[in-house]
Point group: D3
């Protein structure tokens, strides 16, 4: 009898029960103000992961050595962000209740809110470490509260002041930057001062959220709102490794790849490589 | 003193007051289930219209001879289809109350519902003539009532049985085709039997809605859900002319161009040319 | 516990045992003389099949009504066509020995040789019906016997004269056309005279092989060697339906989509729709 | 000793002396009003000709049977159309003076004026047969007399009324269409009535100029100003064959491929195939 | 009554009278030797500016705080560079005579000559600060004096030796580099030594011209002649800020974006962001 | 009489006899596991070299000063790597026997094996300096010994331990990295420690092989398997210059450009510029 060849993110073929980490896609881009298309990211990353090796020479570790269950993509509707967030929250809650780490691949950045709600319920003392080009601190966008430009503001409403650490921020409107001064720690323009986050999260559960547009568009053009002046690949890789090896990450996500703006395929390859390094660091 | 060069759809530079037709863009694509991007259509059509002539040798008429006000694009939010439809309805209502014809350029097909609501309020006896590859007759999509796959079903709820005439339909699920049999006139696969619509709309106000994917993807690849087996350009052009010259069109729209899936630019050029022919036929 | 979302060609989620048809990908393009890339076709078709409906209004049938097992893609090496063909032959043989129909999605056209060898072993009286722009009748290409330009010549070596029926052929070198006159039935330029094939195959097992470049490049640009002057979508669809409903197809394949030359995605959508119609006709 | 592999249009490797036809590229696009890029056409056609066969099953002839010298591309400046035309005229004159047929590959349509001047000097009784989507009959464009929108008007100034036969025309401004009525024969929209041209050119030398945008953009998207509603490939191929086999062509050209708007490569392949058929028909 | 939505560069909606800066597009690319397409730049930059914020966190300034009139694009012919330059000169002269700063967006680099002529007439003591990958110092190109490869040489003819300061230069032919030694200040390969320009222009009017290909093609692929080894985004941004804050800029331009070679859209986004920073620094 | 315009890599128009270097293309990509297309590289590099200058300001040298014969591309079959390597070996041997330097442009990296065999026969003491993102040290790939992932392992079988110097390596499987420790010198992640190679090759003949994916994908996206974290252009240029000026290079190659994944054309431009610098350094 012939068996089905099943496509996972490369090397992530553990069963749910045995897995320490559960990878899932959240292919939603319904609140994006500018260029949509992040809905295609999780499938693209999974398909293109076969151009990657499972072994990381940076970490001298191999995906074959760890246990990850890739549960595929959630089936999400469009046009109703609230319901999308509920479904993501349910999924993340179920993973967390099994004492596993949810590793979500967006989609636009709003999906973070769903998974974060689940994590914050289980871990009330949770902190957020946030890599991004944009503040994502708007109170609303054209009157809507649920938007990828507002997602960190919504998370702040759950956990309050002084618990969010932002890196790489170089775009937003003036009121966002003003607001940030008294509510979050924001490291503008680059990925320096990571010890502030690590110290601020010591012995506490951490939600790590990575908007890939923190990378410079030279190495990551495939995103909805590219912002020149970002981090290089090695810079981001090293920052992530530092944070992950010195914090207690209980949930994480990687967002905002938009494959249709990536005709050379490099952005998708970068996203896959970052995910490999993150999985190996958890 | 130097004047601003203002970009309109070519030849559509009348002021609101003098215009018989008001063209406006509705750049929304928030409920699209598959490939988004129709939000970019009205801007692309306007910009690329400069590759068109204002003169139609088919009709021996020139846009210079008629009066169209191009009011630009509406500023629409994402993530809240209900509010989007309200804004479109308001705009269309204001145009209709000035006894002008609203000519909307989408966006995804759901935008039709906003303009149609306004038209149906002013013209309770209104009929719909609908060119499309898809039935758009779903009751809901993943639980949502407002979706580009449901838009004609929503319009039917306003006007009821026997008042919608569909042409070119070649895709949908089985229940949609079953439902259609007793509620609408559906001409499958091609644009024949147009006299059924013309006779059925005689002396009545008509809303004409054109989903450009009724065209074959060979000539119109730039759309979210291309469906092979569609109409050729001349076939559609002639069908539209026949309908428009033999009906009382009180409002119309052209939808579902997705310029980012149109790397050669041909689809945008086709959309512009169809719009020119329609403007000259109104 | 969370279950894996498994990606099949839409509606093809039967288990091997219950299936009547077994779909599998053969992602090989190693002998292509001009533009490679058909190795990406089966994955692309599977992923993009979610833009299709499972229901065919042409046939009034639904994929939900039949049983197809999509076993995914074979894991094929590059650089050694002989071994690739052996693996394909083994797979097809196993499907045939379970009395199921192998439905292979290439890859380049050479993959046909592997599946045909298996079919010809089980059905020595087998005939071939072949849709293509190219003769594929070269004796060799730059000295190589195994090439996508020679595949039908290799099949002929197995079954001999008068058993191959070719349609749509419009490209090849002069010796191929000369050779064809005394060895195969070739209908040049179009898809007419299908009754010759149907009559010639009456009561006999048939291998149906479809090189998608038989389609005109206007509707199917995404292929290695586009040849203008081909069939339209409806023309091919109707020809396939006629042949399949009037013959005893014991195995079939669909080849030569090259997704990276299909920036609008239309070719992949066409391939998926053709496959749906073929599955529903078997 | 190792020899240079020289790239010609496939099968066109005769020396100048022995050739009956001389093929040359005129890579100029300096007066294009909308999308430039035809400068890349001759190189692209030559490079992609290796995807073609030298044999035509339509004509049952092979490029191996005829003698064509491919002299490569002229080295043309940009920014000075007058000098470009002079260089083209010189080249065409030298070919004509050796009693060979110049076969020019543009570039934009203005290049025709250079070659036509040479042909009209040698053959004062010359006629023009012109396939195009556009009239090219403007007296000037933004004040310039030398423009690809004016090239046939400039040719008319050399030979006068009743000597130009236009086919496929479907775009222009109203004055062009008005002017045409009393100065040229114009067959609008399609390629019918070819006998008018053939009869009008009987026993006279003919310059054949083909603007490839006469083709429908479905099969020929790669051009600066695509105009829907054009001819299919077989329709054009048959029209060209009819005209060429029934006229005395002394010079010809093929223009307006713009390869960078042809991401699938189909337009370049079509141009090459048309050129092969034309070479075999001369 | 409904008002027209007018598209400006984001935040540049002042009227002419109140504006301190006048932005205009010069969409000309008629002398480009290699890849054309810069004619599409100003429209693309304006359209894509809606993906930008009006606020710069680098400068802590907002476009809402300054007054810029975006007059749209000039209507320029092709095929006659001399007339194009005249029209640009007239426009720049009118802006300068109203004591405003002309901010031109090309187009190819030759457009600088038009605006510079106007500026040099009003400010005879003017200097040029020039960022570019190429010297642009050819005496002529294939015999033509007006070419984007010669534009700075033409400017030198107006103002003479020692008044032009070039940065980032890494391409040209040997005679250009030789000539430069005795006529201009050239800082090769990078953007160091900016104090030479600032000191050399102290208390003098300065024309700042930015050829965007001074950027490395990794961050700015969308240009006609990409030259590896260029500046990063932050490097250029900081250099521009230094120069602009320490000089008396009376006119400036930004050139050589070619959007059709920018399929990810990153180059256009970079151009827009550079323009925002420059506007905020003037 | 008109002469043929022959296309060489810019400035490489010497005859074989007078040339010191012989450039040739090896357009093969038949063993590539992931994305093919390097077969198009040599033609693309040659065609796009006309966007380059012949003069290098880095080296202050000009291609006009040296003698290079560009013999065009080899005519290679697909599907039989062994025969391809034989043809390459023959060609390289003939160049070497004329005491010239073979400069091969791939194609995939496997082509190196053919040229290296010829070089190692003439120079038994030969060493290899190897720039690459990948180890290329697999013993086999899916059972095949001849693969672009195994090419350096095959070269090692010819010359043995301690004679291969690798730089920039950042991808491979764990066994490759383990194996490397005792058989080759591998400088991971960057291009430092070049003196190890230079010292190790002192007074010995050197084969230099450059896999262009050693570059970061930001500046070189157009390759089959892009690996983030690579070298910048200037970094690679300087490393190559250092090695070439301090070693005795007897043969070299440049591989793995895949132009169809390079929609902006930047990768091809980079490859051409690197080749120019290498030619001027030999």
């Amino acid at each position: 009898m012939l068996n089905k060849t099943i496509e996972n993110f490369i090397g992530c073929d553990a069963a749910f029960e045995e897995a320490k980490i559960v990878l899932f896609g959240a292919p939603f881009d319904g609140t994006v103000s500018y260029r949509p298309g992040t809905r295609f990211a999780p499938k693209a990353i999974r398909a293109e992961s076969y151009g990657l090796e499972t072994y990381s020479p940076y970490l001298d570790k191999d995906l074959a050595d760890i246990s990850v269950f890739d549960m595929g993509d959630l089936d999400l509707c469009f046009g109703n962000p609230q319901r999308v967030l509920e479904k993501i929250e349910e999924t993340a809650a179920e993973i967390l209740s099994a004492n596993k780490i949810p590793f979500m691949v967006g989609g636009e950045h709003l999906v973070t809110l769903g998974a974060f709600r689940a994590a914050a319920k289980k871990f009330p003392e949770i902190r957020i470490i946030h890599f991004d080009a944009h503040t994502d601190l708007r109170d609303g966008y054209l009157g809507e509260k649920l938007s990828h430009a507002s997602v960190i503001r919504r998370c702040h409403e759950i956990i309050g002041d002084g618990k969010i650490f932002q890196y790489g921020i170089r775009s937003g409107d003036r009121p966002e930057f003003e607001w940030a001064k008294s509510h979050v720690f924001m490291n503008k323009f680059n990925l320096q001062n990571l010890d502030v986050a690590v110290d601020g999260c010591k012995d506490l559960p951490v939600y790590l959220t990575l908007d890939l547009d923190v990378l410079d568009p030279s190495i990551f053009p495939g995103t909805g709102t590219p912002e020149a002046g970002g981090a290089g690949f090695d810079e981001l890789r090293e920052a992530l490794m530092f944070v992950m090896q010195n914090s207690n990450i209980v949930a994480c996500d990687v967002n905002e790849l938009s494959p249709h703006y990536d005709p050379s395929g490099v952005s998708t390859a970068v996203a896959g490589k970052i995910i490999r390094e993150m999985l190996l660091s958890l």
